[in-house]
Each structure stands twice: as C-alpha cells, then as structure tokens.
Symmetry: C2
Subunit: 109 residues, 2 copies
Amino acid sequence: MYDKELYEYKAQIVKAMAHPSRLMIIDALANNEVCVCKLQELVGGNISTVSRHLSVLKNAGIVSCRKEGLQVYYSLRVPCILNFFGCVDAVICEDAKRKQSASTVLSVK
Amino acid sequence: MYDKELYEYKAQIVKAMAHPSRLMIIDALANNEVCVCKLQELVGGNISTVSRHLSVLKNAGIVSCRKEGLQVYYSLRVPCILNFFGCVDAVICEDAKRKQSASTVLSVK
DNA sequence: TTACTAATTTGCATTATAGGCAAATAGTTT
DNA sequence: AAACTATTTGCCTATAATGCAAATTAGTAA
C-alpha cells in the first residue's frame, strides 16, 4: 500500500488522544495554556501518570509546552482538534437514540 | 470529577478509530457502503482480522452494517468523523514544519 | 551549598489490544 | 439434505499501554 505509512502516522495521532485523561487535558487546554500542576488537579491520580500522558500528547504533536520558573505550561498546538469533539458527541447521541446507556451521561432528550 | 464517565465514553470512540486499518476502513466508507470482502482487499491481511476491526468500529457506534445475500455491507453512521481527518493532517503538517520525517509521506511543500 | 518545589524519567507489575488460525454461523445453491 | 461462500467468533501468543513508586533533573530560595 502506498499510503499505509500515512495511515500509521495518522493512527499514532488519534491513538495519542484515545484516553479519557488525555481527552480531559485537551479540553482543559481549549482556551488557554495550563500548568502541569493544574492539570494534575483536574485529571487526578499520580503526577507521574499525568506527566506521561502529557508526553504522549507532545510526541504526537498535539500540544507544546514552555517552562516558566518551576512550572511547565502546556498549550494546544492544533486547536482544530476541538472541532472533533463535537463529532464524538454526535456519535454518542446517535447511539443514545437506540441504546439508553449514554443518554444518562450526556442528558440527551 | 463530574464527567469522568463521559470522557471514558468519548475515549472509547476515539480508541475505536486509533488503528491504521480502521482509519483506512473509515476513509473507504466516506462516500458509500462497502462489503467486507472489498474492505479486506483494501486493508489486506486475514479476513478474521478485518472482521474484528469492523466489530470494534460497530461497537463504538461509528459504522453500521446490513446483510445482503452472502455479503455484509458496512457504512459510516456518523460522517462528521471525516472532518476530523483534515485536522489530523493539520497536526502532521504542523509537525512537518519542524521535523522532516512526515513531509516525505505527505509531500508538504 | 543545602533545602525545597515542580516536573520528568525509569523500572516494574498489570491489563488491554492485535493478529493468526481454526471452528462456528448464516445464507445460497444444487 | 449436502456442498459452498462470506463473515464472525473463540482461543492462543506476542506486543503495547497503563499506573504507581522511586530516582532524577531543573529551577528557586535560604
């Protein structure tokens, strides 16, 4: 396949987003840069785990960071990622129309 | 966290896309339904593997299928998924501006 | 220098995922 | 019914992702 390599590359990026904590982080970075310490408060759990998630996102090219004093601030490098979230919601809504499982969590009419 | 459950739900959907063969399948379904046999030709490999990828996409609510005679035809249930692909390309392009690794595969100027 | 704080990296154990093969299912044809 | 085709499912092994804890790096302040 000619573009098999390209699909592998794309899959790497999608995979980088494919974790609840990392989606939460991306959402948190929607409007402004946030330091690791705040992100830890947000997603909870061990700081080493949060740091690992951030490095996954960074390696995929989704976020970038800058250091200011002791803190490291992360920001979204490609904001269009956020548009996608609406579509994921659409998948959930479509599903909710049939099953009931998702409707409670999204409060779909 | 309030909507931790929601993020887990979303991650499931994103995870379902996070594989080169499955991205390839989604792309193939962009404009029309395609039978499993054609999809196997496309992604290659064992048919049982392809079938498994399809069931991952189906469980996530991304595709649906209908049977016609001996064949099963799959189609995209939520086409907005495709919009997202442009954004993944944007991530790759952003990256290509710095590194050189991706530029060859995407032929970015 | 030492002590302190923020973040990252590394090692390890646990769990999840991928892919192949063979067997099972469902629909078709004879 | 039996033979045939398309697809799915169960079982297995190999590989990758996860989360925690301990060790490490980097910046700050005494």
